[in-house]
Amino acid sequence: MLSLLEQIIPSSTVALIIFATLPLALIAVYALFAIWLERKVSAHIQDRLGPMRVGGWHGWAQTIADMLKLIQKEDIIPTNASRFLFKMAPFVLFAASYAAFSVIPFSSAYIGSSINIGVFYLLAVTSLLTLSVLMGSWASNNKWSLLGGMRTAAQMVSYEVPTIMSVLSVLVVAGSLNLMTVTEMQAGNDVMGFLPNWLIFQNPFLLVAFVIFFISIVAESHRVPFDLPESESELVAGFQTEYSGMRWGIFMLAEYADMLLLSLLGAVLFFGGWASPFGEFLSGPIWGFIWIMLKGMLFVFVMMWMRWTLPRYRVDQLMEICWSFLIPISFVNFVLIALWEMIF
């Protein structure tokens, strides 16, 4: 992809910048679409019309109107807030999310950086999300925000353990930290003659790993039933209480970017990434991109579906699920997967 851009564009620096900003364009378009989708999913589940007016067909312009509104809003900073940290927090949050996209293989021809430590890098960079949430909550000098920030830190640090354990179980099978390599080994249809070579079909314990992974990413991207960081009935709006206008909007954007990032990671690790489910049929760079986005959006849709169905856990129950169930199960599962790989 980069070499193609370099051929078209004379300056290699410009080509590199365009190459690097492609995921940004993707995230922006996806966020607009996802927020619209969230409205529609909620409206369908709740038997109501939802915003059907702005822009004509199914209110497609609603998110754009929302965005314009948010940009125009006053940027309020509380008097006693730590101004620099307060202003920086949303950007650090988004930067962490965005930086992680660089190792996601979007298709056989596009990956930001095909490095050997891809998964390791991704998990390390997403840890910055915790830092930025804590930064924003601490800097806004609000007791509710602080409570929300503390909860978030506890939640994200805890759920990182089962996430990493389930990712490790995949890596034991795949034998590589490079996400491109992991995807490439899943192409084709050989399992039992017709199933695609996706990792989820190759080992029964990987199914357990996937369930643990999915629960953990719901918690990591703080969605219902684990949306304690911003539980509006308890903590006003949690860590983002004092944020207004586009700074709040960037928090929102980062949440959706995070959802997509973790969903795509799930698709790459368990469901073959850009690999087509029909072997050679409908494969290629363009189709690959469509396949991985479809798989990712499916998980995003499930997360939305859960959001509009379930109530919210309490913070200690959330911790209990993580420490007394997910972590022990994921450890045992890890050992079982290793044994399976040794035997077969």
């Binding site: 539980s231 009935s233 308890e234 109530p311 919210r312 856990y313 913070v315 200690d316």
Partner: protein, 381 residues
Amino acid sequence: MARITSPQPAELQKKTMTINMGPQHPSTHGVLRIEVTVDGEVVKKAKPDIGYLHRCFEKYAESLGDFAKVVPYTDRIDYVSALHQEMGYVIAVEKLLEIEVPERVEYMRVILAELQRIASHLLGIGTFGLDLGAFTPFLYCFIEREKILRILEKVSGARLLYNYICVGGLMRDIPEDFKSDTWEFINGFRPKIKELNDLLTTNSIFIERTANIGVLPAEVALNYSASGPMLRGSGVSWDIRKNDSYSIYDRFDFDIPVGKGEVGTVGDCWDRYIVRVREMEESLKIIEQALDQMPDEGDVQEAVPRRIRSKEGEIYVRTETPRGELGYYIISEKSGPYRIKARTPSFVNLSILPAISKGALVADLVAIVGSIDIVLGGVDR
């Protein structure tokens, strides 16, 4: 002599933080906040601070000088179950002035009151779910509540503050298609209760959030004079419709659901919730029987006096509203009401909050306040 106090070691001086909780809901702006002293996330003390929603109902009622003119003001006490407030007041006045009410009017009042009870419980259950983060059941409840409000709107012309029940009768006769509308609602509502049970009652997250939370023992509930689902949730079978029957409630066959601690302890938030759900089913039973028994003909204005002739005396009449016992204490003079005092269940039930929220988590406090199901109009009259 100077008192000698030994300084506590620094590690024993745990810091507590006082925070203001609420407004939880746009309608509680300025009318309710909870001063919470927390140690981390554990509530040490929760003190409800009620604000300003003064409708001055009691003062107005005294200065109006006419029993009939007070009815619209009673609506404003508890605006979620306005018909019950009217009905309680009107029954008190009728008892005081010894006015006989026609059969048809009694049946109509019961049907409307029970419809209103379902509407009120739907709102209580829906917002309770909303407090726990479940958004969808709230809207499902509102769809059903809307159907009831449509019926009530057809009957009285208003959606929230009806001013429909008047001393001696009703303001006007019911529309012709009232019966068919109500039957249609009942038949459509039964499956919806099942849906609600699937979404909330049996949801394990919901049970974890509500079972064993905010436990109110029967003894404490009685000491605080709690009433309605708050008391029945604690396992006390006390319903004024049955135990101290008024209007024509003794003609109907219905049960009083009480909390049995099916998923936790008796008197926890889940018990209070399930009592409301089951009461809706009982209300449906009452409405069905009343619709069958109601006489088709009759003038609803028959017993309405042209001018109310007041007489000296005093009376206390209590009725069962969705939130509990509503009592009107009326002292009457020859010229009209001298003093009217309303005993509203929301105020009494809210006063239990400090007793049951000690040691709970901040998130539990939300659940506890939600399970009390207060209406601030009733807290600050």
